[in-house]
Symmetry: C2
Subunit: 344 residues, 2 copies
């Protein structure tokens, strides 16, 4: 598709978004926040989300919703934002040099849930859409971080997300799953954050799934195998974001229902608090969304509402061999083909 109005050549551009692109994505992102919050309140049975609307000086704003001290959720934050400005921050311009000198528009929904029970995994979701001069792209994903893990839960989470990907292209999950394993990786611990899920970024339909992502390690391996995908339309990528966003509740809620009544004691609680430290380390040292937020003078309380309500660090902690804690490290915090897992 030629982008005549912006006077750029076909080869350097992705397909033109529809005239109502921003409105459609924004409405989807807002609706996703509403739907998730409403279902989580119902699931929790006690906690209620508190909403704060905020505005950003340079342009745009959002609404942050936090549920604290619920029955199931010790803390849950679900944010929606729609912001614009004169220039993308350097960390993004490096990946999208075509956006240099142009204003940008970004909208998205993000969520982190810290359940009270160590048997219910922490979970993260984020979907986002950018427009900047001649380029636009979708990014996001969802990943699960269990403390006392169940293979059945990991498999259910992955299978549900894979179905959402498959509805849009049979190759998506095969790339987005290892990309997630790679992205949510703590280099200084040489440890995965959890059992993964899906992650993608800079998806602009130009056919290279990894364009601009400079994958390393696990993801690079898959990237080389796959090479290019035929070009995708804006509609296809919007549908991908919609389907993956909508897959979150069916991927997570059944896990909560299965595990919410398991009893636990100080041992399990202490291990959960310790492992939450990894979540803090990841978000403050590596997370792209956190860094983008802090670099663009975002609302600090909204950016950091992903941090857990209570966290423990313990010098040189290592789990005892042959314990459930050791099993987390040995079996679950390794890349694993969960979508093809079968119960024995």
């Amino acid at each position: 598709m030629t982008n005549v109005t912006k006077g750029i050549t076909e080869s350097s551009s992705n397909s033109t978004p529809p005239a109502d692109a921003k409105t459609r994505v924004r409405e989807f992102m807002r609706g996703l926040q509403d739907e998730i919050c409403s279902k989580l309140e119902e699931l929790d049975g006690k906690g209620k989300f508190r909403e704060d609307s905020w505005e950003r000086e340079e342009g745009g704003g959002g609404r942050s919703r936090v549920l604290s001290q619920g029955e199931v959720l010790e803390q849950g934050g679900v944010g929606f934002s729609e912001v614009w400005g004169k220039q993308l921050p350097p960390s993004i311009l490096k990946q999208r040099p075509e956006a240099e000198g142009h204003g940008f528009y970004a909208t998205g929904t993000s969520m982190v849930l810290h359940p009270r029970s160590p048997y219910i995994p922490t979970v993260h979701l984020n979907y986002r859409y950018f427009e900047a001069g001649p380029v636009w792209w979708f990014g996001g994903g969802a990943d699960l971080t269990p403390y006392y893990p169940f293979a059945e839960d990991a498999a259910h989470f992955h299978k549900t997300l894979k179905q959402a990907c498959d509805r849009n292209h049979p190759e998506y999950y095969r790339v987005f799953k290892p990309w997630c394993d790679e992205y949510f990786y703590l280099k200084h611990r040489q440890e995965m954050r959890g059992i993964g899920g899906i992650f993608f970024d800079y998806q602009d339909g130009r056919g290279e799934l990894y364009r601009g992502a400079k994958p390393e390690g696990i993801a690079a391996k898959y990237s080389k195998e796959i090479g290019e995908l035929e070009p995708r339309s804006w509609e296809n990528l919007f549908n991908l974001a919609v389907d993956c966003g909508n897959a979150f509740l069916p991927a997570y809620v059944p896990i909560v229902e299965r595990r919410r009544n398991i009893e636990y004691g100080d041992r399990e609680r202490n291990f959960q608090l310790y492992r939450r430290g990894r979540y803090v380390e990841f978000n403050l040292v590596y997370d792209r969304g956190t860094i983008f937020g802090l670099q663009t003078n975002g609302r600090t309380e909204s950016i950091l509402m992903s941090l857990p309500p209570l966290v423990r660090w313990e010098y040189c902690y290592q789990p005892e061999p042959n314990t459930p804690e050791a099993e987390l490290y040995e079996t679950f915090l390794k890349p694993h083909d969960w979508a093809n897992w079968k119960s024995e």
Copy 2:
């Protein structure tokens, strides 16, 4: 002083360190760790330091000492390290381009204490020495982070450090005090980490106190006022590090003794845990030592032993007006001339 052996010109180099420079600094740094640990065990009365020696693949190693669950100290970490390698990490080379292509040597002592009582401040110390090709420099400092602060304690801490600086040059404290205020500043919170102390970096005797430090804000103001200092010798800067290092115990121990028996309840404890979150945010997002450690494949457990044993985050917390918690923000977390404070 001309550095003939290394074939570099006088104008581009700082004065030559003595032949036994590394040995002397290393022995001081090791001794400081010993002295601090021994005094802290005596002060605590219950906790004992556990020592782990470690080696670094590329060269060197260290000994990390951690005291956990003491009477006074909930956790304290005191580290000594001496490392070398082929190339300084990019973040340091940017400040010292002369070191490009040369190997480096670094030794230092660092310490963070997290007391149990919210009436005893958290405290940090770090002194370090680098040699890399034609350049060498000293850096470091100490700063105090109270929860329920006392002006008398802040003044005592600053006065003691000022005396150590003054013994070496009358201008040092005047620069190193605001430099500390600026360095231990959380931009995303627009908040100081605590009541400061002293901080300096890249002190190589070439006379510009701020050479390579690119100060902004508070420190830049003082830097402009002071401009250049007459060149300092290696001996002067080593003495500065020694005097400041040795000033730590007299600066901190009397504060512990004055406050250790104050009773406190859940309110004070909760506020302390909340404020410890700022310590985590600073160390993972801004701290030069932490970033250096993670970039040079340092020992993760030793780097992160500065993190508190238990931490709380609370979305949109703000202290009630006219409470001791509000007083911390309003009076203490602002730059203040503590060395000239007088009790009324």
